[in-house]
């Protein structure tokens, strides 16, 4: 079974630029998560989708972050404009449904300079 795919693996941008991350979940997984993991901390949930609907985006900084999952499969997370404090690993995960185990992608390491 193919795992959760994320791209790019690494990205370096200047502050105030925009960036987008892409995630392809495991086939058939209805639930998709985006996490932000700052160095030395555990993952923090940014947004959670069930199919193409948002379940929870309470911790998403909506003034600069946006995410979509238009057809209930792939998802993109965008930051515009980026700040220095956005430097982190962005993890995508998927699960069959809200109650089952989440499988993680390799993550995208973002550095904002």
């Amino acid at each position: 079974e193919a795992g959760v795919a994320q791209s790019p693996r690494y990205k370096i941008i200047e502050k105030r630029q925009s960036v987008a991350f892409w995630c392809n979940p495991i086939s058939g997984h209805a639930t998709l998560y985006w996490y932000q993991q700052i160095l030395g901390q555990g993952p923090k949930l940014l947004i959670q989708f069930q199919n193409n609907g948002v379940v929870d985006d309470s911790q998403l900084p909506k003034d600069r972050f946006s995410a979509e999952r238009l057809k209930g499969v792939d998802s993109t997370l965008k930051i515009q404009p980026a700040k220095l404090e956005d430097s982190a690993v962005y993890l995508c995960a998927s699960s069959l449904n809200l109650r089952t185990e989440a499988f993680f992608g390799q993550g995208t390491r973002l550095t904002v300079v």
């Binding site: 998560y33 555990g42 993952p43 923090k44 949930l45 959670q48 379940v55 929870d56 993890l91 109650r99």
Partner: protein, 108 residues
């Protein structure tokens, strides 16, 4: 507020010694707890969950509701156990709440 605390950022033990990674949670309802592991250069993966009461790679974790703890234990550490370990709790809205993680180093 729902919270997961892992008090040790780093734990270093010798090969063959017992290991205990601490995890405490705060939640008034019935908790659903997990341990995730991340080996070097690999993705985060589920190690075990309390409802399955299983032993994975020699690790076990017992839920202690009185002490609100879910410590991860292994009687004899192996070098391949070196990794980052995260404790997580599934909250009332199904989202995972994570501890900050403990880096486990097994010395030869």
């Amino acid at each position: 507020a729902q919270r997961v605390t892992q008090p040790e950022k780093l734990l270093s033990v010798f090969k063959g010694a017992p290991v205990e990674l601490k995890c405490n949670y705060s939640y008034s309802g019935s908790p659903e707890l997990f341990w995730y592991v991340q080996y070097s250069r690999q993705r985060l993966q589920l190690l075990l969950r309390h409802i399955s009461r299983e032993s994975i790679k020699g690790f076990t974790a017992d839920l202690n509701k009185g002490e609100t703890s879910f410590h991860l234990k292994k009687p004899f550490a192996q070098e391949e156990d070196s990794a980052m370990y995260y404790c997580a709790h599934k909250g009332s809205n199904y989202q995972l709440i994570w501890g900050a993680g403990t880096k486990l180093i097994i010395k030869p």
